[in-house]
């Protein structure tokens, strides 16, 4: 069973989101890092990039695979974790400590519409 902290929100594309004040941190879930295997490359957007809901904001690559990263919400990128770009393997060690981008959501109320930990766990079990 993969780990899904209850204080986070989740998407069907296996991203997690965490609301802190007016800003939302985004990363990939434990299920995602485990499915990908050894993560070796991360490509993230520039600060100031405007993202639509479900638009691709970056790419994560394992040794043998390439996957797009999708934004759970519409918003503007306010911060990018450039340390993580230098050591993407940290995602395999702890998927939830390693946020990728922070966004200022266009509508913060949309956050509540994302999946809860319980819903996401059920979703993973069903797929």
């Amino acid at each position: 069973m993969s780990n899904t902290p209850s204080e986070l929100k989740y998407t069907q594309e296996h991203e997690w989101a965490k609301l802190e004040g007016e800003v939302i941190s985004i990363g990939i879930t434990d299920f995602a890092q485990s499915s990908l295997g050894d993560i070796v490359f991360l490509e993230l957007p520039e600060v100031g990039t405007t993202l639509d809901k479900n638009s691709a904001f970056g790419v994560v690559e394992s040794i043998k695979s390439v996957s797009d990263l999708f934004s759970p919400l519409a918003g503007e990128v306010t911060e990018v974790n450039s340390d993580l770009v230098d050591s993407p393997e940290s995602i395999n060690e702890n998927a939830y400590d390693n946020w990728m981008i922070k966004i200022k959501p266009a509508n913060v109320n949309d956050y509540e519409g994302l999946m809860s930990a319980e819903q996401y766990s059920t979703f993973c079990d069903d797929n």
Binding site: G37, D38, V40, F41, E43, I63, K64, V66
Partner: protein, 356 residues
């Protein structure tokens, strides 16, 4: 949808919680622990791959040598008994049907090991060529399992299981009384052995290897390992439309042989492509990515690409249009929206082959 075929060891892989995926019609283990750990196990210690999906044909009869020497472009006639040889299998127009290893078991008996995806295609072709020769061709693919035991400690691992292999030279073949045939060959660039094992004995061999500390390795690590040492893979660097001259296999075509299928075409053939090796300091090349010259013109495509575990950088094999090979050896690979400079290499990315 067709049911996936299994190997004798499929349940053992599932018990080890291997990630499984379809490969050439078989449900095969892609990785057990991690691609990185498995790759390094083979480079530094010893790993074992279940490659039982591969096919085995036997050729027997007094014209075995003449037949195989006609069938493949490499030199089978002068190969010593007890040795194996790599070769492509060609049509008359020199296009590549498959690549295979032929084992000279005796004057009148040979084993041919072929890619799983091509078993039927190869069988049809080879049987059709056999009619003028006094030989018997049989397909034992469903009765033989194949384990590749690879890495610097492969020799001591097999010795400790009572399969004495210290006397087997590189590309040497040895037959055992219990029906096992093994050869000092492999697809990783490391020292190692491919062990052809009767189906009923393979479970015991697999579990004995694992009990002795040999690491189970999946097809993902196998692909990284072969790409690091620049071995071609059918369906990627080799296919039905390319000839050996297009794709780095000129060395396997012995043009001074009296005859082989495809020789006539190759005598006047102008290569359409050149297979090259490219390494990247930044970015990971993948199959299908465009290769560009320094002006930004598309001149070829990546046929295989990965992150090299051993070197920790992106590596690729690419087919370049032979008319567009740049003299300055400056190449770019397009990854998504950006062009990344690639370093052109003449030698393989990694040189393995150490013994411990």
């Amino acid at each position: 949808m067709n049911e996936l075929k299994t190997t004798i060891l499929t349940n053992d892989h599932l018990e080890l919680k291997a990630k499984m995926a379809p490969f050439a019609g078989y449900n095969m283990p892609i990785q057990y622990s991690s691609v990185k750990e498995e790759t390094l196990a083979v480079r530094n210690n010893v790993g074992v791959f279940d490659v039982s999906h591969m096919g085995e044909f036997f050729v027997e009869g007094e014209q075995t040598i003449d037949f195989i020497d006609h069938l493949i472009p490499n030199d089978y006639k002068n190969l010593s008994i007890g040795k194996a040889i790599y070769s492509p299998l060609l049509r008359e127009d020199a296009t590549i049907i498959d690549d295979l290893i032929t084992y000279k078991l005796s004057e009148n008996k040979a084993m041919i090991c072929v890619n799983a995806a091509n078993i039927e295609k190869d069988w049809n072709w080879i049987s059709a060529q056999a009619s003028n020769f006094n030989i018997k061709l049989t397909n034992h693919s469903d009765e033989i399992s194949l384990l590749a035991v690879q890495g610097p400690k492969a020799e001591q691992s097999l010795n400790s299981l009572g399969l004495e292999v210290s006397d087997v030279p590189t590309f040497g073949v040895k037959s055992f009384e219990n029906g096992i045939i093994l050869a000092r060959t492999g697809y990783t660039g490391e020292d190692g052995f491919e062990v052809f094992c009767p189906n009923e004995k393979v479970k015991e061999l697999w579990s004995n290897l694992l009990s002795n500390g040999v690491i189970p390795c999946g097809l993902a690590a196998r692909d990284v390992l072969r790409l690091e040492v620049c071995y071609p893979l059918y369906g990627h660097e080799l296919n039905d439309e390319l000839t050996p001259f297009d794709t780095g296999l000129k060395w396997t075509t012995k043009m001074n042989k009296q005859d082989f299928i495809g020789k006539k075409t190759l005598e006047t053939y102008n290569p359409k492509f050149k297979l090259i090796k490219l390494a990247l300091d930044k970015g990971i090349p993948r199959e299908g990515y465009d290769v560009l010259n320094s002006n930004g013109d598309i001149i070829g495509k990546v046929t295989s690409g990965t992150m090299s575990v051993t070197l920790n950088k992106g590596i690729a094999l690419a087919l370049i249009d032979s008319q567009k090979v740049p003299n300055d050896e400056n190449y770019l690979i397009k990854i998504r929206k950006n062009n990344y400079p690639a370093i052109y290499l003449k030698k393989p990315f990694v040189v393995g082959g150490n013994k411990k």
